[in-house]
């Protein structure tokens, strides 16, 4: 296996980690919608100790893409210019909101920042869905690896459907996370119903999306992709069943698996391409024509082999420290 393939897999691992971990952070943010202040505070407290570390998975996925596949980084980030700008605004609001929402007890102040958290959760979830669909469908990329379309070209019905699917999936995943983090029985019961609804909605959105994908892209031509996406459906159903039966653990582990399988499915669909050109298959960016030199890839492989396991260990330890459920009393803590 050459280093380019290793790095394709590593980037996939980083994006999988990002979608799983920030997936439930975004989801918890979305679940705050329409909830009273004390419940929103419990939700924020549930992800409070970990969201910042989770967000670094996205930053690392971006940085690793830059190091291993600089052309992908260059083309992708300049292509999604306005979309990434909107995402950055959302993430800026969200990050500052977590810190400032509790600084004053006025409800206007907290409501404003909670709006920031919700905005900062809906928008990235939607935009990542849009981005992923565009990557799978292919973009007008010319012989110089430059995107020659406009921002509005990125918002096709299929892409928007993908965005909605991601929003529902992350909201579902976030609801499942809350099922294992919230102590209040009455609230848990409501969350359980929400989770089942969201699970079924994501399944429907996924089915619609798969139909579009079948008609519009070549991703279902690969058997491995079909298998991974099929397993995703199975995991989603298991997750719904877990939520319905009141087993938060089962629901959360299954939705985690579903997101992992989905991400792996998408990456296998792309392989060995990373950005598909809709102009000609020869113009696609792949793991060879977009890559760094073997020297840099070797260096980065060594770094990743050392540091990714270390990160996993201390992040897992953090989750262990904060494994207890959040009670309504905890929200006055910070």
């Amino acid at each position: 296996m050459d280093l380019n393939i290793v790095w394709f897999i590593l980037i996939m691992v980083l994006f999988t980690g990002f979608f799983i971990l920030e997936g439930f952070d975004y989801g918890v943010g979305m679940m705050m919608f329409g909830r009273p202040k004390n419940e929103r505070s419990q939700f924020v407290r549930a992800i409070g100790p970990v969201w910042d570390g989770n967000e670094v998975w996205m930053i690392t996925a971006g940085g690793a893409t830059f190091a291993a596949f600089p052309h992908v980084y260059a083309t992708m980030f300049s292509t999604f210019y306005i979309a990434l700008f909107l995402m950055l605004l959302a993430l800026i609001m969200r990050g500052v909101a977590f810190e400032l929402r509790g600084k004053f007890q006025y409800s206007d102040w907290t409501n404003f920042w909670d709006f920031g958290i919700m905005f900062g959760s809906f928008v990235p979830a939607l935009l990542w869905g849009v981005a992923v669909v565009n990557l799978l469908r292919g973009l007008p990329i010319d012989y110089q690896m430059h995107y020659i379309g406009t921002f509005l070209d990125l918002l096709s019905p299929c892409a928007l459907l993908g965005g909605i699917f991601f929003m529902l999936l992350f909201a579902f995943h976030g609801a499942n996370f809350l099922l294992i983090k919230i102590a209040d029985k009455k609230l848990l019961h409501e969350l359980q119903q929400k989770s089942v609804c969201l699970g079924i909605s994501s399944l429907i959105a996924f089915a619609l999306f798969a139909g579009f994908a079948f008609a519009d892209t070549d991703i279902l031509a690969k058997l491995s992709t079909v298998i991974f996406l099929g397993l995703t459906v199975a995991a989603l159903i298991a997750s719904c069943a877990g939520a319905a039966s009141g087993c938060g653990c089962k629901a959360f582990i299954s939705s985690t698996l579903a997101i992992a399988l989905l991400t792996i499915g998408f990456f296998t669909a792309l392989f060995p391409r990373i950005m598909v050109s809709s102009i000609s298959p020869d113009l696609s960016l792949n793991i060879y024509n977009a890559a760094s030199t073997p020297h840099t890839l070797t260096l980065m492989t060594i770094a990743a082999a050392i540091f990714v396991p270390i990160v996993l260990i201390y992040q897992a330890w953090t989750y262990r420290i904060f494994k207890e459920r959040v009670t309504p009393a905890d929200i006055h803590y910070h």
């Binding site: 910042d52 830059f66 980030f77 700008f85 609001m93 400032l100």
Partner: protein, 455 residues
């Protein structure tokens, strides 16, 4: 204005804004860590309660600042691909590695352990909790190292080759031991100590002057912060001086530009003030101290210092015809004087404050009005930091990577001016808006929080 100039403006605004918070993170993280170490090692029960409250007090200020630094940092990472895609293509093989290492080795550390620190007061042992803030401090300062490794390559490329139209890494060891890194990192590190320490001085002074209840306890942080900041100011001056001497060989054009030395001279005089005429490539008017510039560079009153015009001729010989002089010599010249002036002013202020708190402690109450005015001085280190970066980056122009790629060809070709206008206005607006709210939250917190001996 086209997409290029707008992208440059956007990068300048967002970086300078980002770097308002970064030095505070670098310096205040270490200060809070020292404070907590002091807390867990102190003996008496009353003392411990007070110190713990102080740790939480400055910890809260640190966290507001940290959040601002983190969110504005993501913007910077995305920028390289969003606005500077041709730079990312040309430099990715080299520049991507330190950026990825920064995320992998530093961002994960600081972001994970800050969560443990904030929420772990009752869940971790005292020592483990204190270790968390030390890890945050280490992670922050390590991340500064990686990004300055990347920046130093742009100022002074080493350990590379040009293959297939792009720069490729040949020696990672050379990249991290780039002599430019040493000057830049030590200067930025001590600037962080200075900025973080000075913030503690100002906040403590303000609390002493305005909050009778908490007065006694903030004298303690004021004393510690004076010593801490003093280390920072002296360090920043020493490292800055060394770095400027190194520039004589590392990047002589930058050195000559911020001193507005147009012709090569031996011995070279130092211009205190100058009316710079960039078009005619000379100074219309200048006040000089003879031999001084030679002394600053060579530690001797003789010695040649190369002028801008000779360096331009050398650059034309080396790279072909073109204009290789930074296009804002005047701005660099005055930024340098602002930076050095701010550093000198800080040294004076810290010294005077130190005399007050160490030698005239009983008389502090007579000087409350002076302490009350301290917040007016808070901008000084921030002005120095921004001016310093302006010199570093304006002095790199017209290059994005000195000698290898020009800024003008590095911009993303698919961007229209309209698109960059949208983002430029958007980032500026949200940054101004958040600055107001974050400063408001911090000031109100400082104002309202009283630290007493009761639990």
């Amino acid at each position: 204005m086209d997409a290029l100039i707008l992208s440059r403006l956007q990068f300048a605004i967002t970086t300078v804004y980002h770097f308002l918070f970064v030095p505070v993170t670098l310096g205040l993280s270490i200060f809070v860590a020292l404070l907590e170490t002091w807390y867990i090692n102190s003996g008496s029960y009353e003392e411990r309660i007070k110190l713990k409250k102080l740790v939480k007090f400055f910890g809260t200020i640190f966290l507001i600042n940290f959040a601002m630094g983190v969110v504005t940092g993501i913007v910077q990472e995305f920028h390289f691909g969003m606005n500077w895609s041709e730079y990312a293509r040309f430099m990715g093989d080299i520049f991507g590695a330190p950026l990825a290492l920064e995320a992998l080795t530093a961002f994960f550390l600081e972001s994970t352990f800050i969560g443990l620190w904030i929420f772990g007061w009752d869940k971790l042992s005292e020592k483990l909790h204190c270790l968390c803030i030390w890890i945050v401090a280490f992670g922050s300062n390590l991340s500064a190292f990686w990004i300055l490794v990347a920046n130093s390559f742009m100022q002074h490329p080493v350990g590379y080759a040009i293959e297939g139209g792009r720069a490729v890494m040949t020696d990672f060891g050379e990249l991290v031991t780039n002599p430019y890194v040493f000057g830049e990192y030590s200067h930025a590190f001590f600037a962080g100590i200075t900025t973080g320490g000075f913030l503690v001085i100002v906040v403590s002074a303000w609390k002493i002057a305005t909050d009778e209840v908490s007065r006694e306890i903030f004298v303690r942080t004021l004393r510690r912060a004076v010593l801490y900041t003093l280390v920072g100011v002296l360090g920043v001056m020493g490292s800055g001086h060394m770095h400027a001497q190194y520039l004589a060989e590392g990047n002589p054009m930058k050195l000559a530009s911020f001193e507005a030395l147009w012709e090569t001279e031996n011995p070279a005089p130092f211009a205190v003030v100058a009316d710079i005429n960039q078009e005619a490539r000379r100074n219309n008017f200048e006040i000089l101290i003879p031999n001084m510039f030679s002394f600053m560079v060579h530690n001797s009153f003789d010695g040649e210092v190369k002028g801008i015009n000779d360096l331009q001729r050398e650059a034309v010989e080396k790279y072909g015809s073109g204009y290789y002089i930074p296009n804002d010599v005047r701005g660099m010249f005055w930024s340098f004087r602002a930076m050095v002036g701010a550093g000198g002013a800080l040294l004076f202020i810290v010294f005077v404050t130190g005399c007050l708190v160490f030698f005239c402690r009983d008389k502090i109450k007579e000087h409350l009005c002076c302490l009350k005015l301290m917040p007016l001085l808070l901008p000084i280190p921030f002005i120095a930091n921004s001016a310093g970066w302006y010199i570093a980056e304006a002095g790199r122009q017209p290059w994005i990577v000195v000698g290898l790629q020009k800024t003008a060809v590095a911009v993303s070709p698919n961007l229209s001016a309209g698109e960059v206008w949208i983002t430029l206005i958007g980032f500026t607006a949200i940054y101004l808006f958040l600055a107001v709210l974050a400063v408001f939250a911090a000031v109100m917190f400082i104002h309202r929080t009283q630290i007493t001996e009761e639990e």
